[in-house]
Amino acid sequence: MAFERILMKHVDVPNSTSLSVYKSDGGYEGAAKALQMKAEQVVELVKEANVRGRGGAGFPAGLKWSFLPAERDVTYLCVNADESEPPTFCNRVLMETDPHMLLEGILIAGYATRTTVAYIYMRGEFIEQFHIMQKAIDEAYEAGYLGKNILGSGYDLDCYIHRGAGAYICGEETGLIESLEGKRGWPRIKPPFPAVEGAFRKPTVVNNVETLACLPHIITRGVEWWQSLGPEGSFGPKMYCVSGPVNKPGCYEGPMGISVRDLIYADEFGGGMRDGKKVKAVLPGGFSMGVLRGDLFPKAPDGTVDPAQDYDELDARLDFDDVRRYGLLGLGTAAAVVVAEDTDIRDVLANVARFFAMESCGQCTQCREGSSWMYKMAQRIRGGAGRIADLDVLVEVTQNMGMMPGESICGLSDGAAWPIRTIVQKFRKEFEQHISAQAPDAAAEWIRRVNPAAYGLPIAQGRAEVMPGGTFYRPDSEPDTVEA
């Protein structure tokens, strides 16, 4: 049975960004219905449906709302449209094809949380999308879906777009709030959580674009419909992104829990690999969640899952829980970038490491220093001057940076550590092959050039020791849920 597209229902509809097209198809009916209800009822409904945030951490949206203090005069809603996790672009697609769906979601969430002003924090690189969204907001104001006394309910809501200016960390909810306040996007220490003290020190809700876009449909179609999609605990439709050398890179909608293999190979999704190549690796949840081995590797016998073994891992299902069995941090943004068999894994490592080195906000020491150190090592490894010891040091640094989610102020440190650790661990054989194929003195020569002071030390000759007692990792402990 073909999946009925919900969030992307207007992707192929001409002029889909206009209010008239959106309304012709039941648009704003969810909001109208919600505004007839009591705000608490809307919160209860969303809680009951168990809508988990689409931003990456999967925190239940209704629960987040219920953290707001009962007594409050002002509440802000921040819409996280700072879609900067590579290679994620589903929010962009949603905003440029169906801006009113987001606005309707904002209206429902705003009403449920008694929000007075909603800020859409949109990344600065979204320029077309800004103008599309702004036009939609203007239309919505004119039609009375925003502004004073919306649909005669007595509820007032203002909605503004706040453009970012190029900083990944502003996708972290408190980094976003700081940036909204006109400061550098340094995440705040928690507690207090934004629900209690957020933007401008007032109670604030931060929700992702896709999460909000789900709301109108839950209101109109009901909780039962919502829970009929996807596996237990991961309900609802999900927008998946797939990019890299697949035949049909793009954004696709499906139920939660499709397999990575389907996302790459199924006709309704990625449509297979270009030139029939095999998949070496997939980063299936955005960079931060880690890497899976592709079908270049043999299939595991009788479906065993063991991230320590070199088996094909494409059967991982993209929902909030299954991916963790494969050593991933979580579902993330469900945006997969596919690496083909002929790509050098060292390039992947260097690209990922550079991203986090450039985007670390620089507040916590591990993340600031660790990410740039890892990038320097990754660069050297890519440059053909790696050492086996570097692989050990890399893994050790990631273990300190991301021992457990929540040890640094925000989750970026874990997000930086996880992919690098999984890349090095899962593709260690390939790294070792590359290193052993290098000229014997390649690493020493490189080091002599860039850091003469270190050249004389034993470490330059590749004899780095992992610090005694230096690794702390308890695979049996469960990571906490992080809000992001």
């Binding site: 670390s360 300190n400 610090m467």
Partner: protein, 532 residues
């Protein structure tokens, strides 16, 4: 008082403080950079992470949580159990220390902070001897960021204490972090230097050698310095300070914690208010006017000589002898001098000395005050005069009486770091027949003086000051009196007819017996040994 368990040891702590503070106050050495009790908590250095017992999500039994928590950000709650003495915590500290040294230059031999640097200390205790970093080091520039301060940003650990200080305490916001990630640096806006009345504090706040005082730059290795607890005489609040000195003299002044006055900070005035101590033109011998003008006199002969001359003057007209007690004097000194003069001239009038006032009081955002009144002991002098009773009057009265010729003999004490006499004052005081002047520097009174006695700076004396709020605080001697001089207290002690050594404590006991307010000396809390 909440009780918490740290490393198996039960500790009672002040309510509401973070676990880190409780641990430090219990004498534990917990590494930390960004945490400072006087500043907002940012929890960014991640050095002070600890393990904590939490209810297990499923069984609800208390167990060590799998992740580490920043102890600076976790309030100490009664019954909580934490530990620093664990493999996970040690591994974290070791790693973080390694990160700090990735790009840090190995320039301790030329770094002013060496010896009191927390990067050195923590690396020694928790770090590793060799870096595993073999790649290119990032070299951040050295910057001139203000009239008094340099920033060697290659040494910076980005704890952001200086930034928070400028935001919260001085309220001037000159310093910021610029750039992102590992490219982060501290900087000022070009042309808007770090230049405020409290800016010097960022130098001590800096746990490493990134922020440097130009005055102290390359001057001394800190381990050659001796330290004395003192009170700054620059304004009437009596900021607590440390004087760092050695046989070459004073090298710098640092803030000393005082919960009632200056907390962790001092004003730049106090910090740099020691330059006059080493001026070349300090008076360095007593002189008595003879037929050829002022001629040097031996100290031993002075007390007897003065007692006689003052007694003679008192015999002419009983209230014609004046003593001007400078607010730069300590309480003990004022007490001794007043008593000594009243001993030979019982009707002598006690005058409060000149009180210098510059501008108006300045209050900074979190309540730090720089007082307009630029002397340490006006209240002390007033209290003593009031207690001793008899004729007392203020500086203005003194000038009036002197110019009208009512005063036959006067003992005038100065001791101000700067020029303090107006020409009118000089003209008035010049009318006094027998004028004894005791001061730090030659003044216009020298030509009228019958006797000129050198005074010494507060760093060469000991005693107590009563600040503008009536708080009595003691200060200790750092330097020996300049060659040829005698500590004021010692001289007054002898003038009062005593033999032997002046001990401020002894005099204080005598004063306290007479006037209980002097028994109540305020001693600020000591900061925990490992706090910084």
């Amino acid at each position: 008082m909440p009780k918490i368990i740290i490393d198996g040891q039960e500790i009672e702590c002040r309510p509401g403080i973070p676990v880190l503070q409780a641990a430090l106050e219990a004498g534990m050495d917990i590494p930390h950079y960004c945490y400072h009790p006087g500043l907002k908590i940012v929890a960014s250095c991640r050095l002070c992470l600890m393990e904590m017992k939490m209810p297990h999500p499923k069984t609800k039994e208390m167990a060590w949580a799998p992740k580490l928590f920043p102890s600076c950000q976790t309030p100490a709650k009664d019954g909580m159990e934490v530990r620093f003495d664990s493999d996970a915590v040690r591994a974290n500290v070791r790693h973080v220390m390694e990160y700090y040294l990735l790009n840090h230059p190995l320039d301790c031999p030329v770094c002013d902070k060496a010896g009191e640097c927390y990067l050195q200390d923590y690396t020694e205790d928790h770090g590793s001897a060799a870096s595993r970093m073999v790649d290119e080091k990032q070299k951040n520039p050295k910057k001139d960021i203000g009239p008094q301060t340099l920033l060697y940003s290659d040494r910076c650990v980005l704890c952001s204490r200086c930034v928070r200080f400028c935001d919260e305490i001085s309220g001037t916001s000159e310093l910021r972090v610029i750039n992102r990630g590992s490219r982060g640096e501290i900087d000022v806006f070009p042309g808007r230097p770090l230049d405020n009345a409290l800016q010097g504090n960022v130098v001590e706040l800096c746990p490493v050698g990134a922020l440097l005082d130009k005055e102290f730059l390359f001057r001394q290795r800190v381990w050659t310095l001796k330290t004395t607890k003192s009170i700054s005489p620059v304004d009437s609040r009596g900021q607590s300070i440390y004087i760092d000195y050695n046989e070459e003299g004073i090298h710098r002044i640092r803030p000393r914690f005082n919960e009632k006055v200056n907390e962790w900070w001092i004003s730049d005035e106090a910090r740099f208010g020691w330059k006059h101590v080493h001026r070349d033109d300090r008076l360095n011998q007593p002189r008595v006017r003879g037929s050829d003008g002022l001629v040097p006199q031996r100290w031993e002969e002075l007390p007897e000589f003065l007692r006689k001359r003052l007694a003679d003057a008192a015999k002419q007209v009983s209230d014609s002898v004046a003593v001007v007690l400078s607010p730069m004097m300590s309480c003990e000194e004022a007490w001794l001098l007043a008593k000594a003069v009243r001993d030979v001239a019982p009707q002598a009038v006690l005058f409060h000395g000149f009180v210098p006032v510059v501008g108006e009081d300045r209050t900074f955002p979190k309540g730090f005050v720089v007082k307009a009144e630029k002397c340490p002991n006006r209240r002390g002098i007033e209290t003593i005069c009031e207690h001793l009773g008899g004729n007392t009057a203020n500086w203005g009265d003194f000038l009036g009486m002197a110019s009208s010729g009512k005063i036959k003999a006067a003992y005038v004490v100065g001791g101000y770091p700067n020029e303090w006499l107006t020409s009118e004052a000089v003209a008035a005081i010049g009318q006094v027949e027998f004028l004894v002047v005791q001061d730090l520097f030659p003044t216009a009174l020298t030509e009228h003086a019958a006797v000129e006695i050198p005074s010494v700076s507060w760093t060469e004396r000991e005693g107590m000051f009563m600040n503008c709020d009536g708080l009595l605080q003691e200060f200790e001697r750092a330097l020996n009196p300049l060659e040829g001089t005698k500590a004021d207290g010692q001289f007054f002690f002898e003038l009062a007819g005593n033999v032997g050594l002046f001990r401020a404590k002894k005099v204080r006991e005598e004063m306290a017996a007479a006037l209980p307010v002097f028994a109540d000396v305020f001693i600020p809390q000591e900061l925990p040994e490992h706090a910084h």
